[in-house]
């Protein structure tokens, strides 16, 4: 029983899962409140549907199984649209895009584009677009997959990695917020649309969410939100 928009309205709230590990998209503040670009977007979408947004924070490896098992109505966690995912889930229209970036230490002068990582020790995040991109484009001597961005940043700073293939927005946010001795170099690689991911077959709900996204893009609220979270 995939939920329709009416089911959600009748229910009065939408159960949204996120990792809370992915600033600026989603993270948890000191009081335990979940915050971020995805969260604000979720609230706007739910407001349009006339329901309340209820968030669950859980590890990424628990999110998709939970969605498949009907534990959530949707996922807002900087989810990129890919063909494999489209075959198994429903997607709303994209609400933003993000690209892959190369991250190096500030004092590095030799790495300028992803191709320059060839033959080096490179880190990336496992089980994601990033891993595939790194595999196809970086031609690293050693490619190490980490569970999350913080682990990559730490090992980059520790000198064990020469460079890293990461998500652009998250990397920029981290460098900016915490003043890290790192920098993003090169072009924007493989920009990818980011959307809400919904249970397979929930096309009705997906189009209701897509309409809400389009409305907010039309009335300028989307722009304001992006400025707030991505001004770095």
């Amino acid at each position: 029983a995939t939920p329709t928009a009416d089911d959600i309205r009748r229910q009065g709230y939408m159960r949204i899962a996120t990792t809370g590990l992915d600033a600026p998209y989603n993270y948890v503040d000191p009081d335990g409140q979940v915050m971020g670009f995805d969260i604000d977007w979720s609230r706007m979408i739910c407001a349009s549907l006339g329901v309340e947004a209820r968030f669950s924070c859980l590890a990424w490896h628990g999110i998709l199984p939970g969605l498949m098992a009907g534990q959530f109505d949707g996922v807002m966690s900087a989810v990129r649209i890919t063909p494999e995912r489209q075959a198994n889930f429903a997607f709303s229209a994209p609400y933003t895009t993000d690209s892959v970036a190369v991250l190096v230490r500030q004092d590095n002068t030799t790495i300028k584009e992803i191709e320059d990582l060839k033959g080096l020790v490179v880190g990336t995040a496992s089980g994601s677009i990033l891993e595939a991109t790194a595999n196809e484009m970086a031609h690293a001597a050693t490619l190490r997959s980490y569970p999350g961005l913080p682990d990559i940043l730490m090992d980059l700073m520790s000198g064990r990695l020469d460079g890293a293939v990461v998500g652009r927005a998250g990397a920029l946010y981290a460098i900016h917020t915490h003043n890290l001795p790192l920098k993003v170099v090169g072009r924007a690689i493989r920009p990818q649309p980011i959307a809400m991911i919904l249970p397979k077959g929930a096309t009705d709900l997906a189009s209701a969410v897509s309409k809400a996204i389009a409305d907010r893009q039309a009335d300028g609220q989307a722009r304001a939100l992006a400025d707030r979270w991505f001004k770095a």
């Binding site: 992915d22 000191p30 335990g32 924070c57 490896h61 628990g62 199984p65 730490m154 915490h178």
Partner: protein
């Protein structure tokens, strides 16, 4: 070096997460201790079917990852019509999982009791349950205690896996904090201390109980 302000700011959230970890762990510990004892007794049963069934249970439960067991209980059980909330599923999984490890610890301890001790109980007219409660359990306490506490601590640490189905425990909260703040040292220090406090309850209890059970070594 260390940002003390930061630690003060985040400690309420970590303390709150401790409650989750502690609650899940203590509940699961209670269930799995009882279940573990039951399985140990089945394993020691002279009926071949019972002891084989217990062997198979221990084999499979110790043999497969906790994550798989959690998924099976949380996501596959609803197919059978039984939908559990995350807390229940987490506690059930942890209890089942630990019970297999505990059962082997208990079995080993029970087997180290001289048969004369239980024969004396049977000869005086005790039934199997009375013998268990009054003689076997008290006497296996001493040899079971050190590995039992080790396994209880493992249970406490394993409880963090439950965060994968949306119960944010101490470890998950710690990861969440350092992934936005990058204060690895501070977060790990605080988390380490909180875990150390929780496990110290068990470890200090162990040491003092061992001392009290020293009659056992007077031979």
């Amino acid at each position: 070096m260390i940002d003390w302000n930061f630690m003060v700011t985040y400690s309420p959230r970590l303390l709150k997460a401790c409650e989750v970890t502690f609650g899940i762990s203590v509940t699961s510990l209670a269930f799995s201790t009882v279940a573990g004892l039951g399985i140990a007794l089945l394993r020691l049963s002279s009926r071949r079917i019972l002891s084989s069934a217990a062997w198979i249970y221990v084999w499979i439960v110790r043999g497969t990852p906790l994550l798989l067991q959690l998924f099976a209980i949380y996501y596959a059980m609803p197919m059978t019509g039984l939908r559990l909330d995350p807390w229940t599923a987490g506690i059930l999984t942890l209890s089942l999982n630990s019970s297999a490890y505990f059962s082997e610890i208990f079995r080993s301890a029970i087997q180290s009791i001289p048969t004369g001790q239980t024969e004396a109980a049977i000869a005086i007219g005790m039934g199997p349950l009375q013998t268990l409660r009054r003689i076997v359990i008290p006497l296996s306490l001493r040899p079971a205690l050190p590995p039992y506490v080790g396994q209880a601590i493992t249970l406490l640490k394993n409880s963090s896996l439950v965060s994968i189905i949306a119960v944010p425990d101490l470890m998950q909260t710690a990861q969440s904090i350092y992934s936005t703040t990058f204060k690895v040292v501070e977060v790990m220090l605080m988390t380490g201390i909180l875990y150390l406090i929780m496990t110290s309850l068990l470890q200090i209890a162990q040491t003092s109980l061992e001392r009290r059970l020293s009659y056992y070594t007077v031979k």
